[in-house]
């Protein structure tokens, strides 16, 4: 018996030690794990730390991918966002494949990673991000040009007419950096923004961002307060002072701003809103107002006049359409894909319905009531108008974005 025991111990010892070794997590292994599955707040920090391990981090990522069937998306956006810093042509190739794959959920992270680390032979391809359908990828196009010091003035100038204010601001900043001081006309205009999208103070957020940019790039000290209305006497004076300081730097007359960049007036008579945020299809902001208009975008949105009575009919039918929803306001789990419906039931009450999910497909997230509402709303959205600005809100694009979040609209 004792001989058997001894033999068993000898047989089991190697197993015991091998388990000890395999369960001991390396530092880079720990950072990869936290960057994938830790709390959302610490994931980017863990990803940065992982990247600092260089070759060891590459090995860890390769090993992870080998164990997970090469599924790059399962690394999550924070790890994907640092892959460009890791040594290894195979890793970089994976990033390129990811950014070129429209179904890859973390394209903005992959694009940013490539842009921040752009190599000379990639400059042309990376600057192609400027024309991507996702605003976050277009922003990476600007980063790529800044990193590579490629002064593609015309390409960046075209982005001053972008539908997304972050992209317009980024383009203005870059042009100013390249000595085109006139481009600061864009953030200067934003100091006057007061727009909202329902409860969201989109104008105020733009004022904060624009003022931050002007302070950095013009280096002045003004009494402008972005948290206060731009129409207060103090802010009116401050805007004048900033404009005067900027004007002194101009070597040509101040440019005319496109409509999309002008500070629009506040839209007061909102009835219904549809906001779509899709990891793969981008962001869309639509709202229907009492005066039978559909507004596309935020800031100074495009106004589409609808047939008389369209919104009145919608308003009349809404309680019936939404009655089966009951008290439920949230479907799915927090993630990068969202559909947000806002209904101004009365002047002091906005009822909000949110569908939310992660990157994985989910066919039937949208409840029947919201399905019916979505079908009705889609009918009011113009189909192909020929106007490039409106085309970014073309009906089939919206349908496709909805499909990628709550499932196909029947």
């Amino acid at each position: 018996m004792s001989v058997l025991k001894t033999i068993s111990i000898f047989l089991l010892l190697p197993l015991f030690f091998s388990r000890q070794v395999s369960s001991a997590e390396t530092e880079e292994g720990k950072f990869l794990r936290v960057a994938r599955t830790g709390s959302p707040v610490v994931r980017p920090q863990a990803a940065r730390k992982l990247a600092s391990f260089g070759e060891a981090a590459t090995k860890e990522v390769r090993s992870y991918l080998a164990e997970h069937g090469g599924n790059v998306a399962s690394l999550g956006p924070d790890v994907v966002g640092v892959l460009g810093r890791l040594p290894g042509d195979d890793i970089r190739e994976l990033l390129w494949q990811s950014v070129n794959d429209p179904s890859f959920p973390w394209r903005p992270a992959a694009a940013r990673s490539l842009a921040e680390t752009a190599r000379p032979d990639e400059f042309k391809t990376v600057s192609g991000f400027l024309n991507d359908s996702l605003a976050a990828v277009r922003l990476s196009g600007l980063t790529a040009l800044e990193v590579s010091q490629q002064q593609s003035i015309q390409a960046v100038r075209a982005r001053l007419e972008d539908q997304d204010d972050r992209v317009r601001r980024g383009a203005a900043r870059l042009l100013d950096l390249w000595g085109r001081r006139w481009a600061l006309a864009w953030p200067l205009e934003e100091l006057k923004r007061e727009d909202r999208y329902f409860e969201s103070e989109t104008g105020k957020k733009a004022r904060f961002a624009a003022f931050g940019l002007l302070k950095k790039n013009l280096g002045g000290k003004w009494l402008y307060r972005p948290d206060r209305s731009p129409t207060t006497p103090e802010n009116v004076e401050a805007i004048k002072a900033i404009r005067a300081d900027w004007s002194k730097l101009l070597t040509r007359p101040a440019p005319r701003l496109p409509n999309v960049a002008k500070a629009g007036s506040r839209i007061e008579n909102e009835v219904l809103g549809l906001e779509i945020r899709s990891c793969r299809k981008g962001e869309f902001f639509l709202r229907w107002t009492e005066d039978d208009a559909l507004h596309l975008g935020t800031g100074n949105p495009i106004r589409v006049q609808l047939a008389e009575g369209t919104v009145k009919l919608l308003r009349r039918d809404l309680p019936g359409i939404l009655s089966s929803v009951g008290d439920q306001r949230l479907w799915g789990d927090p993630g990068c894909d969202m559909e947000v419906y806002r209904w101004v039931r009365n002047p002091s009450e906005i009822v909000t319905f949110v569908l939310s999910k992660g990157a994985e497909k989910q066919e039937d997230l949208r409840p029947e009531a919201l399905e019916r509402l979505t079908s009705r709303l889609l009918l009011t959205i113009p189909a192909g108008t020929g106007d490039p600005a409106r085309n970014s809100y073309e009906r089939e694009l919206i349908r496709s974005a909805l499909s990628s979040v709550g499932g196909p609209v029947k």
Partner: protein, 138 residues
């Protein structure tokens, strides 16, 4: 202002320790959440003075709940109603802890009053928050 409110104010000024949080909520300084969340942040670097000066202050601040499931006495207050930024950066939210109450997630704008604490808090080597607020839903 009603006579009750005036009496309360006088009492609050006379006995601030006795009337604690109610008195504080009356005098809370209104802070715009964007003032906190639009700073240039670098880990380990000093925070801007206008933000540091709010440490320990009684404040009142509006924002939106970052999306969560079920009931909680702690949530993240963010600037965006759609909770669309699934990964708020560490300086882009206020970690709110409610005094003796729980809440469920709601999509609307909310106001919170309480004591703001400013500065990096680290756990396991990672910064987990910059702004924390202990207080009540207003």
């Amino acid at each position: 202002m009603s006579s009750t409110a005036i009496t309360f104010l006088i009492l609050a000024l006379s006995f601030p320790g006795e009337l604690g949080s109610q008195a504080h909520s009356l005098w809370a300084k209104t802070v715009d959440i964007l003032t906190l969340t639009t700073i240039d942040y670098e880990e380990g670097e000093p925070l801007p003075s206008e933000v540091q000066s709010l440490d320990g202050e009684e404040i009142s601040v509006s924002g939106f709940m970052h999306i969560f499931r079920g009931k909680a006495d702690t949530f993240l207050l963010v600037t965006d109603p759609c909770a669309c930024n699934a990964r708020p950066k560490v300086f882009e939210f206020i970690e709110v802890t409610l005094d003796g109450e729980e809440t469920t997630w709601g999509a609307g704008l909310i106001r919170v009053k309480g004591t703001l604490s400013v500065g990096e808090v680290k756990e396991d080597g990672f910064v987990t928050s910059i702004y924390r607020l202990e207080g009540k839903l207003d």
